[in-house]
């Protein structure tokens, strides 16, 4: 097995961890939306939720898209099998994502939470079904219910087995926990002690629930997917599981002692270790009868994917750091005072020449595109047309629309 055949899978798993940590924390807010109740306090809770997820918002789904695209590029046959068997949960997740994104956008346009309970409800419910469906899909893979190859597995029972239900519930509970930690940290950062306290309690509650689900899960998995259980508890996966458990308990302790900010990072470790454990327990098998190596795309593709992942990381990493830096550093909370700079008035320029030039360039370019043969002349013609478009836009400009002279009443002088 060459390194190139495995690297994209590692990237996929990293993407999965990031999706679980970042997006699931976002999705987990749905639980708190739903259980906020009504009245002034509930209103505050909802407002805090919408505010906290603001700047990071739907961008998080990109991790999922990343996972999908790398999978289908680097392991196309495995992806095809997954997509054929897991149509239903994936479709449900997709619908959930659409509903949530639309509800979020709708929320932005309406005037604050509480005004439109039906929007809040769609937002909350879709935030629940998405992680459940995705978790169930993961459970189906982990319990070996997705056959590799031409004949898809059962599209209903494959993702409703015990392991699937377990992972689905764990995803929802874990998301709720992550969300509560995040919201507590955010409230603490903004100095809203009472709100921080509310979410601290919620975090403890959901953390305990998630822990219980995870422990119960060990039994479920050992009955339902003995091979996986073996890998997780005896084999290579054991140390990862231990790390995950320790990190999980540590997160709870941190939340308990009101250090929610640090808790976020430790929670991420718990999730990452769990995913790593799963990978170690199951690898090198991807789907029953299909190893990662067998599923891997040809060399050139793997190389191109790896190069673009690295290049992408080099660009996305700093951008994301900038965003998180601005948000967590509090820059996005307060307006800065921008000193009024007087802008010297310029005499309006006559742009007629530029306009004529644009027309000339356009005609010349169009003639070349339409009549020239040969790639070079074509390209020149096309560039001329594009330059003409920009020049035309500049020539017309909005400068002469009476901004200086108008009294602002727009007193009906427009129509003849």
């Amino acid at each position: 097995m060459t390194v190139l055949q495995v690297l994209p899978m590692v990237a996929v798993l990293v993407g999965l961890v990031l999706y679980t940590v970042l997006a699931n924390a976002d999705l987990g807010t749905g639980v708190w939306q739903l259980t906020a109740g009504s009245g002034e306090r509930a209103h505050q809770v909802r407002a805090h939720i919408y505010r906290a997820i603001g700047p990071i918002w739907e961008a998080n789904h990109v991790w999922l898209i990343f996972v999908l695209t790398v999978l289908w590029t680097a392991y196309p046959q495995a992806f095809a099998s997954l997509a054929s068997t897991l149509v239903v949960p994936l479709f449900i997740a997709g619908i959930g994502i659409v509903l949530r994104g639309t509800a979020y956008a709708l929320h932005g346009a309406t005037n604050g939470p509480g005004d439109h309970p039906e929007v809040d409800l769609v937002f909350a419910l879709s935030s629940l079904i998405t992680p459940f469906a995705l978790g169930a899909a993961v459970g189906a893979v982990a319990s070996g219910r997705v056959p590799a190859g031409p004949v898809p597995g059962d599209i209903i029972t494959s993702w409703l087995g015990p392991t699937s239900l377990l992972v689905g519930v764990l995803a929802v509970a874990g998301g709720a926990f992550l969300a509560a930690v995040q919201l507590a940290a955010e409230a603490a950062r903004l100095g809203e002690v009472e709100m921080a306290e509310r979410f601290r309690l919620r975090a403890l509650l959901s953390g305990v629930v998630a822990g219980i689900v995870a422990i119960a899960g060990a039994f479920v998995v050992s009955v339902d997917a003995p091979a996986l259980a073996h890998g997780l508890l005896d084999g290579a996966g054991r140390s990862a599981v231990v790390v995950s458990a320790v990190a999980g308990v540590a997160t709870l302790v941190l939340v308990w002692t009101r250090r929610a900010h640090a808790a976020r990072f430790v929670a991420a470790v718990a999730v990452a270790a769990l995913v790593a454990g799963w990978a170690l327990a199951q690898g090198p098998t991807l789907l029953p009868g299909l190893t990662v190596q067998q599923a891997a795309a040809p060399y050139n593709t793997l190389l191109a994917v790896t190069v673009s992942i690295v290049a992408g990381a080099v660009i996305v990493g700093p951008s994301l750091a900038l965003l998180f830096g601005l948000v967590l550093g509090g820059r996005m909370d307060r307006p800065v005072d921008v000193p009024e700079t007087a802008v010297p008035a310029r005499p309006p320029r006559d742009r007629r020449m530029l306009g004529r030039g644009a027309v000339g360039l356009f005609v010349a370019g169009a003639v070349l595109v339409v009549f020239a043969s040969g790639a070079v002349l074509m390209t020149v013609g096309l560039l001329l047309v594009l330059v003409a478009v920009v020049a035309g836009f500049v020539a017309v400009g909005p400068a002469d629309l009476g901004l200086d002279t108008d009294d602002g009443t727009g007193s009906g002088t427009l129509f003849t």
């Binding site: 054929s84 659409v98 639309t102 040809p298 290049a311 994301l320 595109v369 909005p398």
Partner: protein, 454 residues
Amino acid sequence: MSGWLSQVIDQDYLLQARQMQALSFAVHIPLVCFGMALPTLILFLEWRAMRTGQEVYRTLARRWSRILVALFAVGVVTGTVLSFEMGLLWPQFVGTFGSVFGLGFAIEGFSFFVEAIFIGVYVYGWDRLSPRWHFASGIPIVLTGVTGSFMVITVNAWMNNPSGFRLQNGQVVDVDPVRALFANPFLWHEFVHMYIAAFMVTGFLIAGCYAVSMLRGRTTPYHRVALAVPLTAASVAAPAQIVVGDWAARTVGEQQPVKLAALEGLGATTSGAPVHLLGWYVDGEVRYGIEIPRLLSLLAYHDPDSTVRGLLSFPPEDLPPVNVVRIAFQTMVGIGSALALLAVIFLYIRIRAHRLPASRWFYRAVVLAGPAAVVALIAGWVTTEVGRQPWVVYGVMRTNEAVTAASGIPIGYAVLAAIYLGVVVGVGWILHRLAIRPLPADPPPRELVEEGVP
């Protein structure tokens, strides 16, 4: 071909799967036009605000950046559904060729990621970053809008004109994804044509909203600028679109002669082939159409007597549904020509007379222009995509070999249709709400944050 996964599939669902795919695109594409074109317009306004110190520009830029966020959010989720659907509906397509074209989507993913990040910085950064930095944070949005759509289109261009691999016993070998995606003559016209279309759709739609205000008598400088800037952008784009469309048609003639014949409804192979306006294709000819002799030969090969291959010379099982393609094409060209005319009138008045047109009819036409541009956009894609049928990978894999074997497509289709109806209504509502916000549009920032509104 017999791919690794191919098998006997219940083909009943093929039509529904295709319609489902088309529906999802038809919702996604108009939305993403805003992601491609609106950042440029907003930055232009912000730049004007910095240059002239006039508040009108800033107010507009701010308001439009909210529209950008709302539409971006919906664009992202509909795009996410599309990437699910690639696998859910066409597993054999992705399974067999994922290693060839998948890279395009992987890079696209990164590109949109960066776009999303900087939209976050830009929109939440009003008043929080210094004007210069705020403006600078908008530049990556413009660039990634270009690269993202470019990468998706590499994939579509590859499907239309596949290369960069060989097939051996249904497996792809000798895969060269970089060549497959980038060394493709189909790519360039599709990209340029789509990019310009995005400006037309965005420009005419936004201008249309303000044209309504103008017709209702609101003609303040604010409204004038708000109408003029997007309308100017759309108007310089519209004539160029015809030139690029002509180029597209010629490339199609070279690479996909069947599609060209279908566009024109040319039955028999003809030298000095005519173009028919309107009409209906039956039994190898266009009935009830208006014939313009020799024009097709002239347009396609620059020679009025050249020979154009007709539909009847291809095996019947390789033909796309001719009338769908032809009507879609004629719709696009008809609308494109009408919009270009409107654009030239506008530009002429703006440059010669330094004012806005003064006729109510002009503004009524602008109101219609937006929806018309969307229709042209979708008609254009129907031309490309239905004209490619019955192939999903042109000449290599048929659509019916690519479709999923899973049952229940009709249910999925119905659910998706219902939900997308909701999305369309929702987007309409969002835009309405943003539009009717009171004019000094910007409540103090703190209050905005309270609302969770960008």
